[in-house]
C-alpha cells in the first residue's frame, strides 16, 4: 500500500492522528520512529511484545505499548519503505489491543496483522491467490486466550493503519464513554 505522501509526511500525519486519539491515556502519545541511514526503511514501534534487540536500544518508548484511557494496552508496529518515487510504502503493520475491559462486544483482545509475504504452505489456494487457513492480512479476535484462540483469522485485506487506529478509537470511546 502506497501513501501519496513522503515517509516523513506520512509519519507526521500518523503522529498527529495518535496525538488526537482520545482512547489513549494522557501522557506519552508519541510514536517511536527509527529510520535506516539511507532513509529507505522506517520502523514505528510501541510494543513490549516484539523486541528487536539492539535496533531500538536507545528508544525506551519503543518498548512500551500505549495505555488505554479506560483500561487496556495498544501495541503498534509499522514498517515503511521509501519507494522509487520517494513516497511511503507501508510494507507491514501490526496493531494489537489487549486487556480490554468487559464490553458489550465481549472483546478481550484483537490484533490486525499485515505481513509483507504470504505463507504458501498448507491451505494455499492458487485460484484465490490467498490462504484461507492463514489469509495474508487478517484480524484475530480474542487471540490471547490460548493458542487455539489465535487460529481465528478473518481476512481483511490491506487497511490503512491510520484508519485502523481511528476506527478502533471510535469504538473504544463509544463503548467506554471516553
Amino acid at each position: 500500500m502506497t501513501a501519496e505522501l513522503t515517509p516523513k509526511n506520512y509519519l507526521q500525519l500518523l503522529g498527529a492522528c495518535v496525538l488526537g486519539l482520545r482512547s489513549l491515556a494522557p501522557g506519552r502519545r508519541t510514536l517511536q520512529i527509527v529510520r535506516s541511514q539511507k532513509s529507505e526503511s522506517w520502523l514505528v514501534k510501541r510494543s513490549d511484545t516484539y523486541d528487536a534487540p539492539g535496533l531500538l536500544a536507545g528508544c525506551p518508548a519503543a518498548h512500551a505499548p500505549f495505555e488505554l484511557a479506560k483500561g487496556g494496552r495498544l501495541d503498534l508496529f509499522l514498517r515503511l519503505r521509501t519507494n522509487d518515487k520517494g513516497l511511503a510504502e507501508i510494507a507491514t503493520y501490526r496493531l494489537a489491543v489487549r486487556q480490554i475491559p468487559p464490553n458489550i462486544n465481549n472483546i478481550v483482545s484483537l490484533r490486525l496483522d499485515k505481513k509483507e509475504g504470504q505463507p504458501r504452505g498448507d491451505g494455499w489456494d492458487p485460484k484465490l491467490g490467498d490462504n484461507p487457513q492463514h489469509p495474508w492480512a487478517h484480524l484475530h479476535l480474542n487471540f490471547d486466550k490460548s493458542d487455539r484462540a489465535n487460529e481465528l483469522r478473518i481476512p481483511t485485506g490491506e487497511v490503512e493503519p491510520i484508519v485502523l487506529l481511528m476506527s478502533f478509537d471510535h469504538w473504544y470511546c463509544n463503548t467506554f464513554d471516553v
Binding site: 509519519l11 535506516s36 516484539y50 535496533l55 508496529f77 487457513q133
Partner: protein
C-alpha cells in the same frame, strides 16, 4: 518534525549560534544521545567539534571555571557545546548561564540536556537564558541514531542465538504456514524482510 539524531544535527548546524534544549526521561537515552551526537556532528560537518561539559561532581564555582575555559577556546565558533548533568547544581548553574548568555553565542551551537522533571526549575533559575531556546523542546528518546544493515544483521543473530535455530530454518517453517512455535517470530520475520530489503536497495 525530527526523526532522529541526523535531522536534529542538520537543524543545529543550519547557522551559527543555535540554542537547543533536549530533555530526557531515561538516562540510557541521554547517554546514547551524547555518543550519537558526536558521531553525527562529525559525519555532517568535519570541521565542527563537539565538546561535552558535565556538571556532575561540580559545584557552581567549578562549573563557571569550566565554562570560561570553553568560552576562551579559540575553536569556540566551530564547537557544539553540550551541557549536561546539571541537575544537582541547577540553581547555581542557571544563574551562571543567565549571566553568560550573550557570550555563549560565540559557539556554533549550545545544547542543554536536562532531565524532563527539572525543566520547571531551569526556567525559574535562568528565565532570560531560556528565552533563547524558543518553544521547541527535543526529547533524547526520540533522537536515536539511524540503523544500518549491520544493526539489523546483529538483531537477527540475536534471534538465532535465542532460539537455537538458523534464520534459514526459521524462514522455511514460517513460509510453510505451519507455525514456528516462536512467540516473537513476527519480529524475526520482519527483521529478515528488512535486511533483505536494505541489501537489495544497496545493490541497485
Amino acid at each position: 518534525m525530527i526523526y532522529g539524531i541526523d535531522d536534529f544535527v542538520d537543524l543545529l548546524l543550519v547557522r551559527k549560534g543555535i540554542f537547543a534544549l533536549v530533555s530526557w526521561e531515561h538516562r540510557p537515552a541521554m547517554l546514547a544521545l551524547l555518543t550519537n551526537l558526536k558521531r553525527s556532528v562529525r559525519r555532517t560537518e568535519r570541521t565542527i567539534r563537539t565538546s561535552l561539559l558535565s556538571g556532575e561532581n561540580l559545584v557552581a564555582e567549578q562549573f563557571v571555571v569550566a565554562l570560561h575555559g570553553q568560552l576562551k577556546s579559540q575553536h569556540a565558533s566551530a564547537t557544539v557545546l553540550v551541557l549536561y548533568d546539571l541537575e544537582t547544581l541547577l540553581d547555581g548553574a542557571g544563574r551562571i548561564l543567565n549571566g553568560l548568555r550573550e557570550q555563549l553565542r560565540c559557539f556554533r551551537a549550545v545544547i542543554l540536556v536536562l532531565r524532563e522533571n527539572r525543566r520547571g526549575d531551569l526556567f525559574a533559575a535562568c528565565p532570560d537564558f531560556m528565552d533563547w531556546f524558543g518553544p521547541i523542546i527535543y526529547y533524547a528518546e526520540a533522537l536515536s541514531r539511524p540503523f544500518t544493515p549491520s544493526d539489523v544483521r546483529r538483531a537477527i543473530r540475536s534471534f538465532e542465538a535465542k532460539h537455537g535455530m538458523s534464520s534459514k530454518d526459521f524462514s522455511r517453517k514460517w513460509e510453510s504456514g505451519q507455525g514456528t512455535g516462536i512467540d516473537d517470530g513476527w519480529m524475526w520475520n520482519e527483521l529478515l524482510a528488512l535486511y533483505g530489503d536494505m541489501k537489495a536497495r544497496a545493490q541497485t
